[in-house]
C-alpha cells in the first residue's frame, strides 16, 4: 500500500501537479486517522492533503482509480452457488473441454480460463509478467496514458483472448452433455461474462498505471528547469517547451512578490498632510504617526507582438507570463502583427490562456508573409493611437526585421513621446541588430529600454522591468 501511494504521488507530479514533501507527509498522517478501509474517505483524505488547486482535481480523479482499488468489481467465483454435485460436473466439463482443445491451446489460454472459472483473477506477478511481454516495461518516450486500451488489448492477445469464446462454447457443451440443467448453465455463463469484463478492465487499469508510472519517471528525467530557462527558445524541443510552460506560474508568482515588495518600498512616498492630521487627532493633533501618500499606480500596458514564425515561441511565453500577471497591471491592450495588425485583447480576456494562445497564433498562421512593421505601426496610429497616453508603457516584442519596408520612424517617435515608457524586446543578439533587413538600430534611439530576450530567464527579467 505504501509503495502504491508513493507511486501515485509520483504519477501526480509527473502529470504536472505540484506536491511538496510536506504535503505528502500530511497525506500519510491523514491516513493514520481516516484509514484505508473506506475507499471514498481514503480518496477524499488524499485529495484534501495533496491537491490544492481545483484545476488539478481532474488529474487526481483520473489517476486515482488507476492506482487504488480499481473501481472494477473483482472477479466472482461462478461455482460458489453450486451444489457439490454441480461443482464436480463443472470441474469435469472443464477438464473435458480443455483436453478436447489441448492441441491448439496455448498455455496462457488455459490460465485465462482458470481465472474466469475460479474467480481469482491474475496475481500481481502474473500481471507484471504479462505487462513485460506486452512491452509495457520498455515504453517509447512518446507513450501516453491514453494508449492504455491498446496495451491492454495486446495483453489480451497474448492470453489468447480471441480463442476464448470457442473454448467457452466447448465448455457449455460439455456441461450440457453431463446433464447440468440449462438454468444453472445460464447462470454460470452470465457470471463468466461478467468476469470477462472485469478482467478486461483490470488489464486496462494495470496498463494505464504502468503508463502513468512511465510518465512520472520521464518527468523526473527531464533536464532541470534552470538549465532550460537559459537555453534559447529556438533550440527547445516540444517536450522542453511543455516543461517550461508548467513553470510559467511559478515565475509569475516570483515576479508578483517582487512587484509587491517594490510597492511596499513605494509607500515611502510624500507626506500626506490631510491624512496625517486626521490620523493624529487622537493624540491631540501632535503628529505622532506620519501618513504618506500611497502611490500604487499599476502600469497600463500596450503590447505590440510580432508573431512571425521565428518570433512565435517568444511571443507565446510572453503572452503566458502577461496573462498570469494580469492582476499586476491596470489594463492591457494587446496587438499582434506580421504583415498587418490585429487587436487580440478580447481573445486574451475571454479565453483560457492555452486556448487564447492558440487563437492568437492561428490568426495569422505561419507561412509566407512579408513582415511589415512600418505598415503595422501606421495601422496602429490610425486606429488605436488613443490607447497610448502618459501612463502607458508601450512594449514592442519583435526582431525589427522589417523586410526593407518603410520603418515609419515618425510614428514610432510620436509613440515614444506619448507613452510613459517605450520598451523593446528583441530576441536577436545585439551584434545582429542593423544587419540585413533589421531596422533595430533605427528604432533603438527612441526606446527607453531595449532588452535582449533569447531565453525565458531574460524574458522574465525584462517583464520584471516592465512592471516597475
Amino acid at each position: 500500500m505504501e509503495e502504491r501511494i508513493g507511486k501515485f504521488i509520483a504519477a501526480l507530479r509527473g502529470a504536472g501537479v505540484r506536491i511538496s514533501l510536506a504535503e505528502s507527509q500530511d497525506a500519510w498522517q491523514a491516513l493514520t486517522y481516516t484509514g484505508v478501509g473506506d475507499r471514498d474517505t481514503f480518496r477524499l483524505s488524499l485529495r484534501a492533503t495533496l491537491i490544492k488547486d481545483v484545476t488539478s482535481y481532474d488529474t487526481f480523479e483520473e489517476l486515482f482509480p488507476l492506482y487504488f482499488g480499481l473501481d472494477t468489481p473483482p472477479l466472482q467465483d461462478p461455482a460458489s452457488d453450486l451444489s457439490p454435485e454441480q461443482q464436480r460436473m463443472l470441474g469435469e466439463a472443464m477438464q473435458q473441454a480443455l483436453q478436447r482443445a489441448l492441441q491448439e491451446l496455448a498455455r496462457d489460454l488455459r490460465k485465462l480460463l482458470e481465472w474466469l472459472m475460479n474467480g481469482q483473477g491474475p496475481s500481481q506477478e502474473e500481471l507484471a509478467d504479462m505487462a513485460q511481454q506486452a512491452g509495457l516495461n520498455d515504453l517509447p518516450d512518446s507513450a501516453a496514458p491514453y494508449q492504455a486500451r491498446r496495451y491492454a488489448r495486446r495483453m489480451q492477445q497474448l492470453l489468447g483472448w480471441e480463442k476464448l469464446q470457442e473454448l467457452l462454447e466447448m465448455l457449455w457443451e460439455a456441461l450440457a452433455q453431463q446433464g447440468m440443467n440449462p438454468e444453472t448453465i445460464e447462470q454460470i455463463k452470465a457470471q463468466v461474462m461478467e468476469n470477462q469484463q472485469a478482467l478486461q478492465d483490470q488489464l486496462g487499469d494495470y496498463a494505464g498505471m504502468k503508463l502513468n508510472d512511465h510518465l512520472a519517471e520521464q518527468a523526473q528525467r527531464r533536464p532541470p528547469i534552470n538549465e532550460l530557462m537559459d537555453r534559447p527558445f529556438g533550440s527547445l524541443n516540444s517536450a522542453e517547451m511543455d516543461s517550461l510552460r508548467e513553470q510559467i506560474r511559478r515565475l509569475a508568482a516570483r515576479l508578483r512578490s517582487r512587484a509587491a515588495l517594490r510597492q511596499q518600498r513605494g509607500k515611502k512616498g510624500k507626506l500626506d498632510a490631510k491624512a496625517t492630521l486626521r490620523h493624529n487627532l487622537r493624540y491631540g493633533s501632535v503628529p505622532f504617526e506620519i501618513r504618506l501618500k500611497q502611490r500604487r499606480r499599476k502600469p497600463k500596458l500596450v503590447v505590440l507582438l510580432d508573431i512571425s514564425t521565428s518570433m512565435r515561441p517568444v511571443a507565446e511565453f510572453f503572452l503566458r507570463l502577461l496573462y498570469e500577471l494580469q492582476d499586476q497591471v491596470q489594463k492591457t491592450r494587446s496587438f499582434a502583427f506580421i504583415d498587418h495588425l490585429e487587436d487580440v485583447t478580447t481573445d486574451l480576456h475571454t479565453q483560457q490562456i492555452d486556448q487564447a494562445v492558440r487563437t492568437i497564433l492561428s490568426k495569422m498562421p505561419p507561412g509566407y508573409y512579408s513582415t511589415d512593421l512600418g505598415g503595422s505601426l501606421r495601422q496602429f496610429e490610425a486606429g488605436y493611437l488613443d490607447t497610448v497616453d502618459g501612463r502607458t508603457t508601450l512594449i514592442v516584442l519583435g526582431d525589427a526585421r522589417n523586410n526593407y519596408n518603410d520603418p515609419a520612424l515618425d510614428i514610432f517617435r510620436t509613440l515614444a513621446q506619448r507613452s510613459r515608457k517605450l520598451i523593446w524586446l528583441n530576441p536577436e543578439y545585439p551584434t545582429q541588430w542593423g544587419t540585413g533587413d533589421s531596422d533595430m538600430l533605427l528604432y533603438q534611439p527612441h526606446c527607453d529600454e531595449v532588452f535582449q530576450v533569447r531565453n525565458l530567464a531574460q524574458l522574465t527579467d525584462a517583464i520584471d522591468h516592465m512592471l516597475a
Binding site: A30, T41, L44, A48, K52, D53, A260, Q294
Partner: protein, 308 residues
C-alpha cells in the same frame, strides 16, 4: 471531539449545515492534524457559513478577520495603544519623578527608568486585533480569515508563521504562542492565485454549487415554509440559470433569499408574473436579466432581439 467523519457531518447537520462527504472529511482531518482549512469556490456557496456552523458545533467563539486590499499587521494582529500609553505617562508623572528623585547620576536614572520600561510595553497597552485575539484567547476559538484573495501577497506571507506554528512575533514582547490552537478557516473566491507556501500549510477543499437534490435539501431546511412542489421548481430554475452564460451566477444564498421572497409574496406557483417580479433577487445585472428572460422566453421585449 468528533471521532469519525460521519460524526462531523451529523454535528454540522444539527447546526443546519448540510455538509458533503468532502467537507466533512476535510474538517475531520483538520481537527486531527491541527491544520488550517482553505475553502475555495464561487461566492455564496456557504464557505463562511461553514466556519460559523463549526463554531456553533464546537461552541467556540468565532473570531473573524475580513481581508481587503491594504490590510496590514496593525489591523490584523495588534497595535500599540499610543493614546493610552501617553495618558498613563502623564498620570504617572509624579510617581516617575519620585522614582528618579534620589538618583545620583543621569546613568542611574536612565537605568531605573529602563527597569520600568516593561510597564509601557506590556500587553496592557496592546490593542488585540483578530489574529492576536484568536491566539491569545484562553478558550479555544474558531478563526475565520475571510476572502484571503483580497489581501495583498505580503499579507499572505505574514500569515505563514501563524498558520504553521500558531505563534506570532511582537518585537517588544517576544513570541506569543497560542494557548489554545484555534481551528482556522481560510476562504477564497479564487480571484487570484494564492501562494504555494500558503496552500502547502492548509488542507484544501473546493466548494462548488450544489446539485439539484443537495440544493433542494438546503432550501427545505432553511426555508421550511415554502411548499415542497414550489421549492423543487424554484431550485430547478436556479440550476438552469447556472447553466447560462451569465456575468454572475445565482449563489445558494440568493436561492434562499428568493425562496424567502416567494414565501413572503405567498406565491402559489412559479408563473410568468412571479418570475418576472422576483428575478431581481437572483440576478444582479441587467444584461443577465435580459438573457434569463430570453432563456425562459419571458418578457415582452426579449424575443428575437439581440441586445449586444
Amino acid at each position: 471531539m468528533a471521532a469519525t467523519v460521519s460524526d462531523v457531518r451529523k454535528a454540522l447537520a444539527a447546526q443546519q449545515y448540510i455538509a458533503t462527504d468532502e467537507i466533512a472529511t476535510v474538517i475531520f482531518l483538520a481537527e486531527q492534524l491541527g491544520k488550517p482549512i482553505l475553502a475555495e469556490g464561487p461566492a455564496g456557496v456557504g464557505k463562511t457559513e461553514l466556519s460559523k456552523a463549526w463554531a456553533a458545533v464546537t461552541r467556540h467563539e468565532l473570531v473573524r478577520l475580513q481581508c481587503y486590499e491594504g490590510l496590514d499587521e496593525s489591523k490584523a494582529l495588534y497595535e500599540w495603544e499610543y493614546a493610552k500609553q501617553m495618558l498613563y505617562t502623564q498620570l504617572l508623572r509624579d510617581k516617575l519623578s519620585d522614582l528618579l528623585a534620589d538618583a545620583q547620576s543621569l546613568t542611574e536614572a536612565a537605568d531605573r527608568l529602563a527597569a520600568e520600561e516593561d510597564v509601557f510595553f506590556s500587553q496592557r497597552f496592546l490593542l488585540e486585533r483578530p489574529l492576536l485575539r484568536a491566539i491569545n484567547s484562553d478558550q479555544p476559538t474558531v478563526l475565520l480569515i475571510d476572502e484571503i484573495d483580497r489581501a495583498d501577497a505580503e499579507f499572505e506571507a505574514f500569515l505563514l508563521e501563524i498558520l504553521s506554528d500558531f505563534q506570532v512575533s511582537i518585537p517588544e514582547l517576544g513570541t506569543i504562542v497560542a494557548k489554545q490552537r484555534p481551528a482556522v478557516f481560510l476562504t477564497s473566491n479564487n480571484t487570484r492565485e494564492l501562494s504555494e507556501a500558503l496552500k502547502r500549510r492548509c488542507l484544501y477543499v473546493y466548494i462548488g454549487y450544489p446539485d439539484l437534490e443537495e440544493e433542494l435539501q438546503i432550501v427545505r431546511l432553511k426555508v421550511p415554509d415554502l411548499a415542497p412542489q414550489l421549492a423543487r421548481q424554484a431550485v430547478e430554475v436556479v440550476q438552469s440559470l447556472r447553466q447560462l452564460d451569465l456575468k454572475k451566477h445565482p449563489s445558494v444564498s440568493e436561492t434562499l433569499d428568493w425562496a424567502r421572497a416567494l414565501v413572503t409574496l405567498n406565491a402559489r406557483a412559479l408563473d410568468k408574473d412571479v418570475l418576472e417580479n422576483t428575478l431581481t433577487v437572483l440576478l444582479k445585472y441587467e444584461s443577465d436579466m435580459a438573457r434569463a428572460r430570453r432563456a425562459f422566453s419571458l418578457g415582452t421585449n426579449g424575443h428575437g432581439r439581440t441586445d449586444r
